[in-house]
């Protein structure tokens, strides 16, 4: 939400004396926002240009300026609004960056000079060769405005309307256990902090190449966690249909949330009715639900194929990758079975990483990371793409950034972050249950996740574990986990569920120094793994 009606430029350029109380009493802060076009105001571009002018005249071979106005709001949380300005320059192969919350031409000039000084601090030392992949230079790609397509802008809605929505669902949850037919087993739901999280960000990107791009990005998350009490037991569960997405409030309101809650209650009751058994460690055929698969894909494919990690740029921070030599490994490294194909995009509807331009002004491409089980490509920004020049010429591909550059706000320089991912579903129409139905003796995981090591290669997968016998989940297993190596895990995939069984989940990954996070959407169907190593996580060696 915007706290007050005002123009951006006044707010940034004229920082008023705090001692002078403005004459007009603000009728302000009624959650009305400024018109969408304000970030397109030429006066804002003029601030950015003032920075680029200094960068250019001080010897930068390339420079970009980003301004953003970020609004965040969370039900029962503290609403916040922030503006930042960041300028990045390249001088003799070295990068410099400077940022601050002040939007003014003077400040942009000061930041550009600071960024130049930062870059120059290193230029007298060892030579650094930096090449940036070319940018297509037609008008359409360099200029324009785009907004995440939404219907209901959460920042245009009243707080009460949003609070009422979640309040009504809470009451629905509490009432659900009140109308149990005679003879049926009683149960009760306790809502545990229902609410939404909303983000709106107006962004401007200007570069020495001639970019003038403005975007409005929306992200919406709905949290529906509750405690289910049943047969003297209790379970904490939450809907996974409203994880972070590039959307407005319609993303939550447009879904049959009450029906989803009823289904989840029935499913959880069935699971809770199963007997509890200890872990029988060993090797088992394994079924993973779609939720578990998305979480694994995010870590083992999304994070691992960020080229900067593979090259060691994150060695002291987010970690490296098992793709230790991308130049040799693209096209040869076997990561999965022939059924295992993963594509990447930043264009899909509802994608948490979906944009029209990335934070280097590149229109992201759709590309294939893993093709028929073999590493096919890496996630790149402009600098990274040129490192893969030899690979691309071998494959007769254009050297171009895939558009994976991202910074959460202009106070951070952009880094390569994972795009939205898709595991190719099977043409057969298997679901989690029908895949379980084909397993004679094994184990199944729901709502799982993984702890990875710092090279995304060895992991520990955990979640709600079930014993499977003759195609049925017959018991819950406490403390079961799988230890795995990434390539072996995906190479043991024998079946993948159909398109209808896939789920899109918004997930956050982080990297960098200072550390920052980014959301992306991962879509995956349930899978069957031929054999995995099951251990007891609660037992020590």
């Amino acid at each position: 939400m915007s706290f007050s009606r005002r123009t951006f430029v006044q707010a940034g350029a004229t920082l008023a004396a705090c001692t002078a109380i403005p004459g007009q009493v603000m009728a302000s802060a009624n959650r009305r926002q400024d018109a969408a076009s304000e970030i397109q105001d030429p006066a804002i571009k003029a601030i950015a240009d003032a920075g680029l002018d200094v960068a250019r005249s001080s010897g930068a071979t390339y420079a970009d300026a980003r301004l953003d106005h970020l609004y965040e709001f969370q039900t029962r949380g503290t609403p916040s609004e922030s503006m930042s300005l960041g300028i990045r320059v390249l001088v003799d192969g070295y990068w410099g960056f400077a940022s601050s919350p002040i939007w003014s031409k003077d400040e942009a000039a000061r930041l550009a000079a600071a960024a130049i000084r930062n870059a120059r601090a290193n230029t007298s030392g060892k030579a650094r060769y930096t090449e940036l992949a070319p940018v297509a230079t037609n008008e359409q790609q360099l200029t324009g405005h785009w907004s995440t397509p939404i219907i209901d802008d959460p920042f245009e809605m009243s707080e009460e309307e949003i609070a009422d929505y979640f309040g009504a669902v809470s009451i629905y949850m509490m009432n659900l256990g009140n109308n149990i037919p005679p003879g049926a087993e009683p149960f009760a739901l306790e809502p545990n902090g229902l609410g939404g999280k909303f983000l709106k960000q107006d962004k401007l990107f200007v570069s020495t190449i001639g970019h003038h791009i403005t975007q409005r990005i929306y992200q919406t998350t709905g949290d529906f966690p509750f405690k289910l009490k049943y047969k003297g037991m209790q379970a904490m569960v939450s809907l996974d249909t409203t994880t972070t997405a590039g959307a407005g409030f319609e993303y939550i309101r447009g879904q049959p949330i009450r029906e989803q809650i009823r289904q989840l209650v029935e499913e959880t009751k069935e699971d809770m009715s199963l007997p509890h058994v200890p872990v029988d460690v060993g090797r088992y055929e394994t079924v993973l639900d779609a939720n578990t698969v998305t979480s694994l894909l995010s870590e083992t494919i999304g994070v691992a194929t960020e080229l900067d990690r593979a090259l060691g740029y994150e060695a002291n921070a987010g970690g490296t990758s098992y793709v230790v030599d991308p130049l040799e490994m693209i096209g040869t490294l076997k990561i999965g079975s022939p059924e295992f194909t993963v594509t990447a995009n930043r264009s899909e509807a509802l994608g948490a990483a979906t944009v029209k331009w990335d934070d280097e002004g590149i229109t992201p491409k759709n590309f294939t990371l893993v093709k028929d089980g073999v590493l096919n490509d890496m996630q790149t920004d402009r600098e990274g793409a040129t490192v893969l020049k030899d690979v691309y010429s071998r494959q007769q591909k254009t050297v171009q950034s895939y558009g994976c550059s991202f910074a959460p706000d202009s106070g951070f320089e952009p880094l390569t972050h994972s795009a939205n991912l898709h595991l190719k579903p099977s043409s057969a129409s298997d679901s989690f249950d029908s895949l379980v139905g084909k397993v004679e003796k094994g184990i199944a995981f729901k709502r799982g996740g993984a702890d990875m090591d710092h090279q995304q290669i060895s992991g520990l997968l955990y979640g709600q574990a079930f014993e499977v016998k003759n195609g049925t989940r017959i018991a819950r297993i406490g403390g079961a986990a799988i230890i795995f190596r990434t390539p072996e895990l995906w190479s043991s995939v024998t079946s993948i569920g159909g398109e209808a069984s896939a789920k899109r989940i918004g997930l956050r990954t982080s990297k960098g120094q200072p550390e920052r996070g980014a959301f992306h959407s991962v879509t995956g169907a349930p899978v069957v793994l031929k054999e995995t190593t099951v251990i007891d996580i609660l037992r020590k060696a």
């Binding site: 705090c18 302000s28 029962r76 609004e81 919350p101 002040i102 930041l111 290669i457």
Partner: protein, 487 residues
């Protein structure tokens, strides 16, 4: 409108001056619309950082941030709002937003706001400041990176790392319903340096790092050299069987292992008199006592080895001087006995008949002994020397059993000598078990634990500041569950 003097914010080390900050606080105070309690926080941070990788500086940055936070409590409802803009329109906007929310949500409790505004009265100003940290130039940083990368290059290794100088000021003003006012001003700096040196083929990795408020206490050249040395001595690691080993944990590994005891709300020697069933999930409680409807804590009970004492003294110059309510000296564990837990003012008045509180903080000191790491190695028949742990996650909150991995240096000790470099392991261990299996303690040393500004508004600097001083430990029966491939 008069232009605000922003020289302080746009100067070389761009933090707002105390005068600028106070003007903002006074302005907010003047334009309040309601009778109620208010708290205003104005923070300003500056940092200069340099990243390097593949033996070249990869990014050099200067960042400044401002945060204005308004909390208010009007007629029993609470509201808050945050902005980073300090023009009058924005300040009025953020204040009105918080006021409106508090009027609206009188019946809808926020989980993000403390239950009560801090008490009026004495609150010492906190200062953990080093001019040397703040005065480091980017050219000086470049020299350090040159040195660090050259060391690695000479050995045909790849260095990646990060150095940062950081400064932060926070001014808070509290105004209660009777218009009584109290103000707190804090300033702090932090210098940090860390380096990871890897073999180009990915066959070895070494790490070293340190974060202190005073740059004078961070020997960056030594950190760079240590990372190279660790990498060289970890070349070509061999696979050995997982299992239980005697371990010598370097101070960094000790900090990695024990800090989850103090960090997470669930496992902190936490809130006395907490809700029903918390004993089910908290190792510092014994059980739920139905007769008094309360969890019974382990206060007064020996929980770890009697040589273990973990405390925090806000006047310890090595830890940084702190101030604010509930941040007085506390001994969490005294000679193995649990003696300190956090509690709020309500608990203090009701249960302890005193007016006080004990707040969580990130800094701590753990007492040690006088055995050097070399002596520990010499006295070890068969064991492992552990540099560092990472990716720790609690899998059982009741016992604090954690899983995580070793990294950046793991060596086998045989017959009193380091015999070979070993492939990393996944661990499965609880700090409470480990602290009950201590064989020897070494000399406490500061470790790398840079503060992280909470994503929510910083209320007091002490919640962010972390200076951790712990000894190396020799621990028996440490549990390694599987070999991992990562180096």
């Amino acid at each position: 409108m008069k232009q605000m003097n922003l020289e302080s914010l746009t100067s070389d080390h761009g933090m707002m001056s105390r005068e600028d900050t106070e003007r903002i606080l006074s302005h907010l105070q003047e334009i309040r619309n309601h009778k109620g309690s208010y708290r205003f926080n104005v923070s300003s941070t500056w940092s200069s950082d340099m990243r390097w990788a593949r033996n070249r500086a990869s990014m050099t940055s200067d960042r400044r941030k401002v945060m204005v936070v308004v909390f208010c409590e009007i007629a029993g409802g609470r509201g808050s709002a945050v902005t980073n803009q300090i023009d009058n329109t924005s300040l009025e906007g953020v204040l009105r937003m918080a006021e409106r929310t508090s009027l609206k949500v009188a019946d809808q409790r926020s989980t993000d706001i403390p239950l009560e505004l801090p008490p009026m009265g004495k609150m010492p100003n906190a200062t953990t400041w080093s001019d040397r940290t703040i005065n480091r130039t980017v050219e000086e940083s470049a020299k350090i990176v040159q040195y660090a990368t050259s060391l690695a290059e000479e050995k045909q290794l790849l260095s990646a790392g990060y150095i940062e100088s950081h400064g932060m000021t926070v001014a808070s003003r509290f105004i209660d319903v009777h218009d009584r006012m109290h103000q707190l001003y804090s300033a702090m700096t932090q210098a940090q340096c860390s380096a990871t040196v890897r073999h180009p083929m990915g066959t070895a990795s070494g790490w070293a790092g340190l974060a202190r408020y005073d740059l004078g206490k961070v020997d960056e050249a030594a950190i760079a050299a240590r990372a190279v040395e660790k990498c060289v001595s970890s070349l070509d690691p061999v696979r050995i069987e997982p299992g239980r080993y005697t371990v010598i944990l370097e101070p960094q590994a000790v900090a990695d292992l024990i800090l989850p005891m103090f960090e997470s709300g669930d496992s902190h020697p936490a809130r006395r008199g907490s809700a029903e069933n918390s004993s089910m999930q908290n190792p510092f409680f014994m059980s739920f006592d139905r007769s008094v409807m309360r969890d019974i804590s382990k206060i007064g009970i020996k929980i770890v080895d009697e040589r273990i004492t973990i405390s925090h003294d806000p006047n310890d110059p090595e830890l940084g001087i702190l101030g604010g309510p509930g941040t007085g000296p506390v001994t969490w564990i005294d000679k193995g006995v649990l003696t300190g837990m956090t509690y709020d003012k309500g608990y203090a008045i009701k249960e302890l008949n005193e007016d006080g509180q004990v707040e969580r903080r990130m800094s701590l000191r753990m007492e040690g002994g006088d055995t050097s790491i070399d002596e520990m190695i010499a006295g070890t028949q068969r064991g492992l020397l552990v540099s560092r742990l990472s990716k720790l996650r609690v899998v059982d909150r009741r016992s604090l059993l954690m899983t995580g991995v070793t990294r950046d240096g793991l060596w086998l000790i045989e017959k009193g000598k380091i015999s070979k470099s070993v492939r990393n392991f996944r661990i499965s261990e609880s700090p409470l078990f480990a602290l009950n299996n201590v064989d020897q303690l070494g000399v406490p040393a500061p470790v790398y634990k840079p503060f992280t500004i909470p994503e929510a508004a910083p209320l007091f600097i002490q919640f962010a500041l972390s200076q951790v001083i712990v000894p190396p430990l020799k621990v028996n029966d440490f549990s390694f569950t599987s070999t991992i491939d990562a180096i």
